[in-house]
Amino acid sequence: MRQEPIDESVSVRADFQGGAVTPIAFRRRGREHRVVRVNARWVDRVPRHPHYYFSVTDESGDVYQLQLQAGDLVWWLDSVALEG
């Protein structure tokens, strides 16, 4: 299992209900990836503004890491986890 870095800014549809943010879908290279499961979420509070991280599985079963930087409200697609 290895992480393939992507490091691209992406558009994300997200749910902000209940005081928590949950990504629903993201768009990369013109294709929308629907998030079928948020596997894990964690927060890095060391930077001046927290960074919110999400491990998500899309409808094809691939596992991606998304990041929301609270300072500028920009979403990043950090990486994809590949088997092998």
Binding site: N39, A40, V43, R45, P47, S55, A81
Partner: protein
């Protein structure tokens, strides 16, 4: 499946009943590996190893094959060829640990934290929490909801007993030993289970036919001191279930270390010194953030053939300034790196801390020290705002282009997962 046990005595005796000391030990189960299994559901139910060179953490599925922390990866692969090996994500683990410890601080006035465990002082909190075993159960639930991680909790009248009783119910367990039950609980434990008894001490004790804590009690304190030095006094108390160490928010760390292996074994002095400068910068910055200054600087290295060496030396004055620490570290490196063999790993350790400002300065050095401190503060300010990697100094420039960089600085091959 959570498990619970209650060892000896009445439920409140010695664990939170009217002023009795009560310590809760919280241990995150298979910490790094559990996080990796959470982040990627395809890993769940599979043997997972986190580490590079040696196992830093492995899942319970991997442990069934005899794998354990500290084992070399080659041995692990032999025992469990289908294990999934992951180098690890130190930054992610830190975030999770902080979340767990934040939950602990919600229930305990004093929390002493380590990498994947915490001691919570619950003494005197029974009016707030009611039954402390129930409070521990609530804490486990809260940590699980916040992080998805299971923890094992041990509740006891002191730190040692809390940790020991927790170990009997891992993973996802909850156990209590009371003051009344402490004697019986400790008596039959193998001596190796006591803190401070490593392989060498255990071997010495076994040669004397001392195998359990109960056996150890026949040895007078003088004998234990003769055998093991000053720690013999602690062992005399511990084998009786006594531990007087308080739960301390560790404001001053014992040591700060930064180390890494190279992407490729190297004998290139420019690269090695560059890496050492980078590690020194990281360690000094942490030191400044904590408001402490080290008096002792150590360098450790491991050669490609597995041989290793380390050496430390004391600074004339405690200092958290990168150039001061680096000068000594480079001198130590020059004395250590004498073989014509490539290096696999290099590390730097700061220790002997004093509170910044509490030490006496040398009269004529103060102006220079003040300028250095101001420069370091300016560096720290820039790095806090824009990431550590935006400023690279001196020899560390040799790493530019050789290593990838992110907002945290250079991406090291195997940063110590514990840092």
């Amino acid at each position: 499946m959570a498990r619970a046990s209650d060892t000896g005595g009445t439920p409140d005796a010695g664990t939170g009943g009217t002023g009795q000391p009560a310590v809760l030990h919280v241990d995150i189960d298979a910490f790094f590996a559990s996080i990796e299994q959470q982040r990627d559901p395809r890993l769940r139910g599979r043997p997972v190893i986190v580490g590079a060179g040696v196992i830093a953490s492995c899942s319970y599925e991997a442990r069934r094959f005899g794998l354990k922390a500290g084992m070399t990866l080659s041995e692990a692969r032999r025992l469990c060829p289908r294990a999934v090996i992951i180098e690890g994500h130190a930054q992610v683990y830190r975030c999770y640990a902080e979340e767990v410890f934040a939950r602990c601080r919600e229930v305990a006035p004093a929390v002493e934290t380590y990498l994947d465990e915490a001691y919570c002082d619950l003494t005197g909190t029974e009016r707030l929490h009611g039954d402390l075993l129930e409070a521990a159960r609530r804490l486990k639930r809260s940590i699980l909801e916040a992080t998805g991680l299971t923890v094992t909790c041990g509740l006891g009248p002191n730190r040692m007993l809390a940790k020991l009783v927790g170990k009997t119910v891992k993973p996802d367990g909850l156990a209590r030993v009371t003051a009344a039950g402490a004697d019986a609980f400790v008596r039959d434990l193998p001596v190796e289970k006591l803190a401070g008894v490593g392989h060498a001490h255990a071997k010495t004790l076994r040669s004397m036919n001392v195998r359990t804590a109960g056996d150890m009690r026949v040895l007078p304190v003088e004998t234990l001191v003769r055998l093991f030095g000053a720690p013999g006094r602690l062992l005399y108390e511990r084998c009786r279930g006594r531990d007087t160490a308080a739960v301390n928010e560790r404001e001053i760390p014992v040591s700060i270390s930064r180390e890494t292996s190279f992407h490729r074994d190297t004998a290139d002095r420019a690269e090695i010194e560059g890496m050492l400068e980078y590690l020194a910068g990281r360690a000094c910055r942490t030191s400044r953030e904590l408001g402490v200054r080290p008096r002792t600087v150590g360098v450790r290295l491991r050669y490609a053939d597995g041989e290793g060496d380390e050496r430390e030396r004391t600074l004339p004055q405690p200092s958290d300034a990168d150039p001061v620490v680096l000068a000594l570290a480079l001198d130590l490196l020059a004395r250590l790196f004498t073989r014509r063999v490539a290096l696999h790993n290099v590390g730097l350790v700061l220790s002997g801390f004093t509170r910044a400002g509490a030490e006496q300065g040398a009269l004529f050095d103060e102006r220079e020290a003040g300028r250095r401190a101001a420069l370091c503060r300016a560096f720290d300010g820039v790095r806090s705002a824009y990431g550590h990697g935006v400023l690279v100094s001196g020899r560390a420039l040799h790493l530019k282009g050789r290593l990838e960089e992110d907002e945290h600085g250079f991406v090291l091959r195997t940063p110590s997962l514990t840092k």
